[in-house]
């Protein structure tokens, strides 16, 4: 009798479940699996083939914006490693925001799950909700978006396949977008291949790595990773000495703690060849400007990170040769295959 009920129950559930999404494991690059802990996949939003496909469709679809002229990809273009090429990004009303669009890759390895420059988004799913209603971004309304999706000839079926329901909600849309974003993995740079023993670096690139690592030179690695932390970021928040006074409080505006004023998330140094301009406000147009800033341009302030050295002298005082070598090394972290991966194109 017991077995009968078990079989009966299973059979009943299967009939009601309808389509079962196909589980999709992230393809974890060897350079990650051999050095860092696994990515963060929330239990309530595991990856599926259908969820990722839906997320990709939504990511590139202008249907999310108020006047249906802008998609996530408008500010997060695959050709720019999922950022754009302007200091700050323009929304549907022609208004520019105050922050540089962050590139999107290796997001599942942000272990603290604090996203955006100021850490205000506490998960990828929550982050995906925000731009839609932001008045200087997509300037839309989730109720309207959900109505448009619900009345779309294809989306209800896509949601049915991804989440086993054709009743669309903003939360499910955000889950799908987050699933797609977690597939954006970049780990095929020249330096990755060097680390795997598949290629060599030039003497200039090797010296640039030395400059990057050495405490008495660049000392970049404490915040920006190293060959054993190939994310090339600590995903933590630092005041790196951009300003003596703050017009943008960064993390401080989120936590309310004055000790966090002027702190912003360390961006990954991967794909710098495609992600200019740089810094949270896009103030530096070139990588040379960034290196010059760390060498001679630091500004002191009460919350400046103690890891910033020689502040009184403006920075770490690199020679012209070391600057050039550092730049060469940094560019070796760029991954051209990430830009052309067909899975990431519209």
């Amino acid at each position: 009798m017991c077995f009968y009920f078990l079989f009966f129950s299973c059979s009943s559930d299967n009939e009601n479940d309808g389509y079962t999404p196909v589980a999709l494991d992230l393809e974890i690059p060897e350079i990650f699996s051999s050095n860092i802990i696994p990515p963060v996949i929330p239990n309530d939003n595991t990856q599926t083939v259908e969820g990722v496909a839906l997320g990709k469709r939504l990511f590139f679809d202008q249907i999310l914006s108020g006047d249906q002229t802008m998609a996530c990809a408008s500010c997060h273009s695959p050709q720019n490693a999922f950022t754009d090429d302007t200091p700050t990004s323009v929304g549907i009303d022609g208004v520019f925001g105050t922050r540089n669009s962050m590139p999107l890759f290796n997001l599942a390895w942000n272990y603290n799950e604090r996203f955006a420059w100021d850490g205000k988004e506490l998960s990828l799913e929550r982050q995906a909700l925000e731009p839609v209603e932001n008045p200087i971004e997509m300037h839309s309304d989730w109720e309207d978006v959900v109505d448009r999706l619900q009345n779309h000839p294809e989306y209800p079926e896509f949601f049915q396949q991804a989440f086993n329901t054709s009743t669309i909600t903003k939360e499910l849309a955000a889950k799908a977008i987050a699933q797609f974003e977690r597939t954006l993995i970049s780990a095929n740079s020249k330096f990755d291949r060097y680390s795997l023993g598949q290629t060599t670096l030039t003497p200039q690139e090797l010296n640039g790595l030395d400059v990057f690592l050495r405490e008495d030179k660049g000392d970049c690695f404490h915040c920006h990773g190293n060959p054993n932390n190939p994310l090339w970021t600590d995903n933590d928040f630092h005041n790196n000495g951009l300003d003596a006074t703050f017009t943008d409080l960064g993390l401080g505006s989120v936590t309310g703690d004055p000790n966090d004023n002027g702190k912003f998330r360390s961006p990954s140094l991967r794909n710098l060849a495609y992600t200019s301009p740089f810094m949270h406000d896009g103030r530096f147009a070139t990588l040379d400007e960034v290196i010059d800033f760390y060498s001679e341009g630091l500004q002191n302030s009460p919350t400046i990170d103690p890891l910033m050295k020689n502040i009184a002298q403006g920075g770490v005082q690199l020679s012209a040769q070391d600057k050039a070598d550092l730049k060469a090394f940094l560019l070796s972290l760029s991954d051209p295959s990430f830009l052309t991966n067909p899975d990431f194109q519209n």
């Binding site: 802990i37 400046i304 910033m308 502040i311």
Partner: protein, 256 residues
């Protein structure tokens, strides 16, 4: 892993001994290390960070902005000199209030122990291994800088001789000279912290205290105007950290 087998073997021996001794019943206990921090008796938590409010031995006012350190290989030595060494480690992250309580992960037989100890940092064998969690926490030391892992990252600010705020990075690692292709290691700079004799009768919590002020004195009075940043490649500074570290930890109490 090898040490786990050693632990199991010794545990079995101890249990066997207890079978022979009908008067003492040995039980397996769960043991936890709790880490607390003070500056010459004034309690320090991350709430106290970012404010210049502590005075070191050399008279410099300092703040603490980041403090995390590694302990490993918790070891119990019985009164008959049997050694139970746990092949474990814990990154105590005071900044983010993480891992201040460390469950040792293996059960410890009750009984009298002549010493309980742990290693500050990693011994050289452990330091040569690859720890994905510590890499992910950006706690490793790149191979070109000597390799292995930080033993401690202690960052803050001090008022310099001109009464201006300046930064310090008191980073303890394995002392190294000529880092790079052909490094030499002048002296080990991990050290054993002995907590003393303990009788374990039940599940136990060791309350271990770090007096942060000790990093700046005894035997070396630390002058932050001289030794503030770029200390990782300074093997002499690393050896002074090692020397000063000997008196940093004490066992406050054991509750069980």
């Amino acid at each position: 892993m090898k040490k786990i087998f050693a632990l199991l073997f010794i545990s079995l021996c101890l249990v066997s001994c207890s079978d022979d001794d009908a008067t003492n019943t040995i039980i397996q206990t769960n043991t936890t290390f709790n880490f607390s921090h003070n500056f010459d008796g004034t309690s320090v938590t991350n709430v106290d960070f970012n404010t210049i409010q502590f005075t070191n031995e050399n008279g410099e006012m300092i703040s603490i902005e980041r403090l995390r350190y590694l302990i490993s290989d918790v070891t119990f030595t019985t009164t008959s000199n049997e050694v139970l060494e746990l092949d474990n480690y814990n990154l105590v992250d005071v900044t983010n209030n993480n891992n201040l309580s460390f469950e040792l992960g293996s059960q410890i037989p009750s009984g009298n122990y002549s010493n309980v100890s742990f290693t500050f940092g990693f011994d050289n064998t452990d330091n040569a291994e690859n720890y994905l969690d510590l890499n992910s926490a950006s706690f490793n030391v790149p191979a070109m800088l000597g390799g292995g892992y930080h033993y401690m990252q202690f960052d803050g600010k001090y008022l310099d001789n001109s009464n201006m705020e300046a930064n310090f990075n008191y980073h303890a690692i394995r002392a190294v000279d000529n880092p790079g292709m052909d490094p030499t290691f002048p002296q080990d700079t991990f050290f054993t912290v002995n907590l003393g004799a303990v009788t374990i009768t039940n599940d136990a919590t060791f309350n271990i205290e770090m007096n942060i002020a000790e990093w700046f004195r005894n035997p070396n009075t630390w002058d932050l105007n001289q030794l503030n940043t770029v200390l990782m490649p300074n093997s002499a500074a690393q050896i002074q950290m090692f020397q000063n570290g000997q008196s940093v930890f004490t066992l406050g109490s054991v509750s069980q």
